[in-house]
């Protein structure tokens, strides 16, 4: 199969997944969550145009997402009040244009340098924009933000876009288009030069490209897509407020992109889906979810700097060579201590959290994994220690086997090295 047809197949699969997802996960919560995921996929991919493709670490990407969201919300309100014949599905274009505008404006001053200087400028710009958002109340609506009503615009083919499922499909279509476009951009002269500038900005200058210009265009395009995502978010929530342009949102997109993996195109998609799911669901399961988030992030930085997709990509040649099964025994062997370690960690965190935070008002009894236990008694703690120590020792014992299995599986037998 050629590279091109493989790409087409991947996109076809993506389209099918987008189409049938709400049939598989039909509850209102799932559809709402998947709508957010669609928005975040665009946002995270736009961020990766900077971080992964061009090597620019931004701490203020939410500025474009947020500002564009406000423009979209105002556009919707304007269209409704003036009775303009603007259908909802074109509103993301407003966001895109707004994103582009601010991308060009702020990109011109921030992309002259890469590295730390760029990161710090984006940090400062992010702080400034959130500060001004609170000062300019007419446009940003103060703390409350700007609310809008997506169902009051011109209907398209009878769809009024009140029900969440219609919004889901609207987002899904935009998501597909944006993902395809962003993928396409990586395959253009500019996209290739972004990689070149990321790797070696100096040499790029000596083959005729201004590193600053490349960064600037990448930045502007990235802001455009972030803008589309922001507008979709405004449509989805029917509300935009300054949180969306703030440091928290900028941090979240960094987290998604990095955890998903910056080295593969699919990485941010995985990250956006996973982190959005965890953000909305983990807080139902544990009060210490932010701690898990932090540990997850550190774990990825320490043990899988390529992110989830990077780790998966390591296996790609083996899958293609049909030799992935050679790893199976070693992985199965590792699964047990790994699970022990994981369960031990969860127990440790949950028990500590309960004893330190909740025990004073709720008593020492709690339940973890639906198993009742008393934090003041020894058994759960002994179990925790046993699991942790056992897990670590087990992994140490198994680790060489994984190495051997890798060596055996990747042994050159012709074909790609």
């Amino acid at each position: 199969m050629t590279g091109a047809s493989r790409t087409l197949l991947a996109f076809a699969a993506f389209a099918v997944i987008l189409a049938i997802a709400p049939m598989v996960f039909a509850s209102g919560t799932s559809v709402t969550m998947m709508s957010v995921m669609g928005v975040m996929i665009i946002f995270a991919l736009s961020y990766n145009m900077l971080l992964g493709e061009t090597g620019l670490l931004s701490f203020g990407h939410a500025v474009y997402y947020g500002l564009a969201g406000f423009f979209a919300a105002h556009a919707m309100n304007l269209a409704r009040q003036q009775g303009l014949p603007v259908p909802l599905p074109v509103i993301p274009l407003v966001g895109g244009v707004a994103g582009l505008f601010f991308g060009v404006l702020f990109g011109a001053v921030s992309t002259r340098r890469a590295g730390t200087v760029f990161a710090m400028i984006t940090l400062g710009l992010g702080e400034l924009v959130s500060a001004f958002a609170l000062l300019m109340r007419t446009f940003f609506g103060g703390e409350d933000g700007i609310s809008t009503n997506r169902a009051k615009l011109l209907p398209v083919f009878g769809y009024k876009f009140g029900p969440q499922i219609q919004i889901y499909y609207l987002i899904a279509i935009w998501c597909f288009v944006c993902v395809a476009l962003m993928y396409a951009i990586t395959r253009t002269p500019l996209g290739r030069m972004c990689n070149a500038v990321r790797d070696n900005p100096e040499r790029a200058e000596f083959v005729g490209y201004s590193a600053q210009r490349v960064r600037f265009i990448a930045f502007s395009l990235s802001a455009t897509f972030a803008g589309v995502a922001g507008a979709l978010s405004a449509i989805n929530f029917e509300l935009m407020n300054s949180h969306a342009a703030g440091a928290g949102q900028s941090g979240a997109v960094l987290l998604m992109t990095y955890v998903g993996g910056v080295g593969q195109f699919i990485g941010p998609i995985i990250g956006a889906v996973l982190i959005t799911f965890l953000q909305t669901s983990l807080s139902d399961v544990t009060k210490a979810w932010m701690l898990y988030f932090g540990l997850l992030f550190i774990g990825v930085v320490l043990f899988a700097p390529g992110g989830i997709s990077g780790w998966l990509a390591l296996h790609a040649p083996l899958v293609r060579g049909g030799r992935i099964f050679r790893l199976a025994p070693a992985y199965a062997l590792a699964a047990l201590p790994f699970a022990a370690l994981f369960v031990g960690m969860v127990l440790l965190i949950e028990l500590s959290y309960h004893m330190l935070v909740d025990a004073a008002s709720e008593g020492t009894k709690t339940s973890v994994f639906h198993i009742a236990m008393d934090g003041a008694s020894a058994p759960p703690w002994i179990a925790t220690v046993v699991l942790l120590v056992g897990g670590v020792l087990g992994l140490r014992a198994v680790w060489p086997k994984i190495g051997d299995a890798w060596a055996a599986a990747t042994e050159p037998t012709g074909g790609e090295a």
Binding site: V36, G145, G162, F277, F342
Partner: protein
């Protein structure tokens, strides 16, 4: 990495396993349960769980048990909307929230639209702490009820009290620069002019929200202005640091605040040694409450090791139970209609009523000062040894302010 996959599976399993029996009435509690706001959200949750236990002990709602479903909104309006959606999916037809007027505003909007688009699945929203007046003015909704006194009512109470204090001559107003602070600033100016035209407003300051580390320059300005009284809506770190800087510089004024009693406030005031110089305005004061309320307070403190911060939550839940009983229905619309114009004896003894035009609860308000406790006072705060002493009561009828609400009624 597999750590992650596992985590997802576990989370998914647990969520799936959490399906609950259908024979309970579910109240979705949407407030911060993580991050900085969690200190407040957790305490609020305890209030509601405890109140639900009481309702269930007294026969429940139409014979059904009330169950509180907690959802973490991370004080983010968009997140709150997602969590509200989850609450509804989990079977909650009633939700309650308190922290952050921006969240409240988003929820009002969400509930209104959801009810418009899903007739027959209406959801009712009880607000126990978001005080932005516009929530019962321009943004008012039939589906929203508020038990906390809004900013306007609180300022009306403060200024009514200041009317009786001739020693107040020069007032300085300082607030956080966001919608709540700006509202306090505006109200303070208007009401002081109306009620105490002789008082001179010597300064009117806004500073960015949670961005100031050192308030010394602001204190220098207050000092230079010759103020004898400061009115502020500051809370959290902005309240604590402001008072600390004042004490450091030896500034001797009286502080009229909205949130000196908020989490961490008493600790900070005790540190500054400003004895009975800091005042706040609330709907109940444990040290001067009627005996049954004091008993409840004692039980609550004994169980949870924390002050019963929200007497209004007690009012809210008691009125909820009453409305269900009177309506003989668990239908949110029927409950809402019964809540309108409902008159009750409040937790702290006075007469209270839910105004029909804007769904704002009206109740007696108390001005209190924080400091060393007189003999016989039972309750201190945050283990400081200091507590609140009532200095004035403002009757509910004296806090009534006309509303601009134009409610769309179903």
């Amino acid at each position: 990495m597999r750590n992650l996959t596992l985590g997802v599976c576990v989370a998914a399993l647990l969520t799936a396993g959490a399906a609950r029996a259908e024979d309970t009435v579910k109240l979705g509690y949407i407030d911060p349960l993580s991050g900085g706001g969690a200190s407040i959200g957790e305490v609020g949750l305890k209030h509601f769980q405890w109140l639900a236990d009481q309702i269930n002990a007294s026969g429940g709602l139409m014979g059904k048990k009330l169950e509180i479903l907690p959802f973490d909104d991370k004080v983010n309006p968009q997140e709150a909307v997602v969590q509200a959606r989850k609450a509804i999916d989990a079977g909650a037809r009633f939700i309650t929230q308190g922290n952050g007027s921006s969240v409240a505003s988003a929820l009002i909007d969400f509930v209104q639209k959801f009810n418009d688009r899903n007739p027959g699945k209406e959801t009712l929203y009880f607000n126990y702490a978001a005080v932005d007046t516009s929530l019962t003015n321009a943004k008012c909704s039939f589906w929203h009820f508020r038990w906390d006194a809004n900013s306007t009512i609180k300022m009306a109470a403060i200024t009514n009290y200041l009317k009786t204090q001739p020693s107040v001559k020069k007032v300085y107003i300082i607030n956080q620069d966001y919608s709540f602070g700006q509202e306090v600033k505006k109200l303070a100016n208007e009401m002081l002019k109306a009620k105490r035209p002789d008082v001179q407003i010597v300064g009117d300051e806004l500073h960015p929200l949670l961005k100031v580390t050192d308030f010394a320059p602001y204190i220098a300005k207050i000092k230079a202005s010759g103020a004898d009284t400061v009115i502020t809506g500051n809370w959290g770190q902005d309240m604590a640091l402001l008072l600390k800087a004042a004490a450091d510089a030896g500034l001797q004024v009286k502080w009229y605040t909205y949130y000196a009693g908020g989490a961490g406030g008493p600790t900070a005031i005790k540190q500054t040694g400003l004895d009975h110089k800091v005042f706040d305005v609330v709907e109940g004061n444990p040290n001067s409450a009627p005996p049954d309320a004091q008993k409840t307070e004692e039980e609550f403190r004994a169980k949870f090791n924390v002050t019963l911060w929200y007497p209004r939550a007690v009012n809210e839940m008691r009125m909820f139970q009453k409305a269900v009983t009177e309506a003989k229905s668990l239908d949110p619309k029927a409950v809402a209609l019964k809540l309108e114009d409902m008159k009750v004896k409040t937790f702290d003894g006075g007469e209270g009523w839910m105004r029909k035009e804007d769904h704002q609860f009206h109740q007696d308000m108390y001005i209190r000062s924080f400091g060393a406790l007189p003999k016989g006072a039972k309750f201190d705060e945050e283990k400081t040894g200091w507590g609140w002493t009532e200095v004035a009561k403002v009757a509910a009828k004296d806090t009534v302010v006309p509303t601009t609400c134009k409610m769309e009624r179903p």
